[in-house]
Symmetry: C2
DNA sequence: CTCGATGGTTTGAATACTAAACCTGCTGCT
DNA sequence: AGCAGCAGGTTTAGTATTCAAACCATCGAG
């Protein structure tokens, strides 16, 4: 499967991954949330090569995750800013950072801390249920087809126990 | 910068991205949470090529995100299961799926719905502050160096307004 | 009229990915 | 005994991406 086919998949995860699913894009987005906005700053902070940076920024602009805004005339110079669609990536970024803080930190502790302006405390991000407010755990979540379901390849499997494989004949018949 | 250097970065996001930051790995993890566990099943559902699948599974096992468990002898056959470290990726996966549901769904609606067994309702994942429980928005979060901070390249910039660029001499001096 | 700042693009070599075929152990059928 | 089939890979050769380094364009300042 190629990149361009990925966005056609009947799966929200595949579609999101088609936009942000490579390492450079994710790191660019991290810096966006740290208020980095200019080509040269991205390039220096990330150690990304210039052609790739240009390519990824263009892609993010095409997807309306970033907008290119002129910040001066003569000569025209642009900066890249998160759109609302881009700002909505915040939970993804926070979840990724938090997992790294928990599972990949060295002994010295986490490199960055986050303060919540609302309550004034350093915090961890927690993912909760929109309906009851309880923290989500994978075993308490059941997945089922929604109105946009189509491709049965993306439905969950039912195999909870080591099931015997289906034979090729059965597969062909189904 | 190469992949192997990424995990040495003084940044939780970079370290996490070094583990899960490519499209195939993310899609494999999606399927893991849908209870897919076998090589052939991953391969068929994802449309991934076999060498890449083998490579990514090996990587995830090395990182202790998955474990390889034999589910039969003669001939020995293995399945791949999420470890606790892997299960902890759930918020990332949910955040990615949710963004796709909001920003990338077609008119027919979202492909999958999630039911929370605790309250019994279909829900959206919401990211909240661990201290006050309020939903997080990027503008209300302030980032500052933590105990493991080291590399100033990963601190946020302070430029809120179009700032004049620093001259090369100043840079060299600092 | 040359230098530096900014935001790119071009080039050729190194790396990664793809598709298709092949390999290994074992079972069960004939 | 011999062969087909299953599961989980590996090999190979061609294609696509990425890398590093250099180059280009625009404009202002000296």
């Amino acid at each position: 499967m190629r990149w361009n086919e990925l966005s056609d998949e009947n799966c929200s995860m595949a579609r999101t991954v088609s936009v942000i699913g490579d390492r450079w894009t994710l790191l660019i987005l991290r810096d966006c949330f740290l208020r980095v906005r200019r080509f040269e700053d991205f390039q220096e902070r990330l150690g990304i090569t210039r052609p790739i940076l240009a390519n990824r920024l263009k892609k993010l602009v095409n997807e309306f995750v970033l907008v290119k805004v002129p910040y001066q005339q003569r000569p025209v110079r642009y900066e890249y800013r998160l759109t609302q669609k881009g700002l909505d990536l915040f939970p993804i970024v926070m979840a990724i950072v938090h997992w790294g803080d928990i599972h990949m930190a060295d002994k010295k502790g986490r490199p960055l801390l986050h303060t919540h302006n609302v309550c004034g405390k350093d915090f961890d991000p927690v993912m909760v249920c929109s309906e009851c407010g309880e923290p989500l755990s994978p075993r308490q979540v059941h997945v089922h087809p929604g109105p946009g379901a189509k491709d049965p390849r993306h439905l969950p499997l039912d195999t909870d126990l080591p099931a015997p494989r289906r034979l090729a004949k059965e597969k062909a018949a189904s």
